[in-house]
Amino acid sequence: MAGAGGGANDVQWCFSQVKGAIDDDVAEADIISTVEFNHSGELLATGDKGGRVVIFQQDIENKSQAQCRSEYNVYSTFQSHEPEFDYLKSLEIEEKINKIRWLPQKNAAQFLLSTNDKTIKLWKISERDKRPEGYNLKEEDGRYRDASTITTLRVPVFRPMDLMVEASPRRIFANAHTYHINSISVNSDNETYLSADDLRINLWHLEITDRSFNIVDIKPANMEELTEVITAAEFHPLQCNTFVYSSSKGTIRLCDMRASALCDKHSKLFEEPEDPSNRSFFSEIISSISDVKFSHSGRYMMTRDYLSVKIWDLNMENRPVETYQVHEYLRSKLCSLYENDCIFDKFECCWNGNDSVVMTGSYNNFFRMLERGQRRDMTLEASRECSKPRQVLKPRRVCAGGKRKKDEISVDSLDFNKKILHTAWHPEENIIAVATTNNLYIFQEKVN
């Protein structure tokens, strides 16, 4: 079954679908800022810079056949956040959706949390496929009937109607963050979640919007002493008392909420010692962790820094158990990457369903599949040129210097404006969603 392909099978990836406009002139609002499958993989949500959320649904009909092709079609779309201006602080608050996290499904409706820099919202997405008909006082179109014409009483009945998917904001969690929210994470207890900004992490109850608990605060008494910020945070998938947060200095701290109310003191500190001879102006910048994700098993966690992906065993703090180079050829381009700000790009990473393969994005619309057990890696490209139905993706190669072989692309030809920052992997199947600047690509495992 797909997803279990530990390494014995060579998974071949095929183009399945692409969403979004073809034209090169990208409006800022259309820039995709987050991509997330729900827990079953049936729904795929995207957020963009314009504050909009689009949810796609997997076409269920085909699922009766094992390993069949499935399609994702638009299910719902809504404006989650609007631009705001904080007059007191003279601060513009972007409507860009930084993160979306789904809640596990409890009833017929679906719930997700979406957040911009300052405010988190809980959205309920529900289906309506019946409506009451036969009101006494109203016509079917809503106009009120003339009361004098009503002589009999009838009971309205529910009749089927065309499916309507409605999204409504059920909770608004506001005013708890001075700095910019970078992460939200739902706890395995299904009642609480955390939100993290540059300096603080807050714990919320999903039902309570007027208060939250501060559980991490790394703001120094004197801001001149500020040396690191929080870059990402996540709850452990199984242990409701455990969470981790990563920093701009390349460290990850694991905290246990049972230890104390304020978790400023970590339970574990994960840090790989740096070789002092390698220290340079760029060291700290490229060591900044842009994403941290627990494995589904909860035994490992993965971090993404500018040039590499590291897998950590939670039982070992002094170094990662695996390190994968994403685009090592950029090491000799750091000067220009600093000048064009690309060195600050925040790439995300994700695990496949059984934690055997990890994926992360790169430049030139390339993305990397890193197979753990086999120590194999593959570079693929999301492009309109490889977008014929079921077209198998050919592995790509980058030539760092010296002789460029045929089919290789040289580092200097890479387009650094085409970055894949956000990717997501279906929790059970080999279906991946890859976001380029303004397009969403869906790839699937080749099915014979």
Binding site: G20, D30, Q79, P83, D117, L199, F281, Y324, L440
Partner: protein
Amino acid sequence: MSSENQESEAPLEAGEEKQDSQEKDANPVKAEEAKLKAKYPSLGQKPGGSDFLMKRLQKGQKYFDSGDYNMAKAKMKSKQLPVAGPEKGLVTGDHIPTPQDLPQRKSSLVTSKLAG
């Protein structure tokens, strides 16, 4: 994965070549750092330190002084207020921000093209 797989160097033939490329391997970052220092000599006593973080924490800050604005309006009753250049986001120097300069803060009522 963790070693030199992606650095597709041309196949090494002589011992000398190998040594050269090893040196290059060891110091591509140092070479880049030297390039940067040559271009921006005043850059960073604190590499990657507070300056970056401060800039990051202050993202989105706009500055407006109603006193300045009204004074400028009063002084320049007869003259035009200086209009913002093409870079509306940057208000610098003598230019006083005016309501015309503020970017339109309407939310996008257009449906996302992903849903189109």
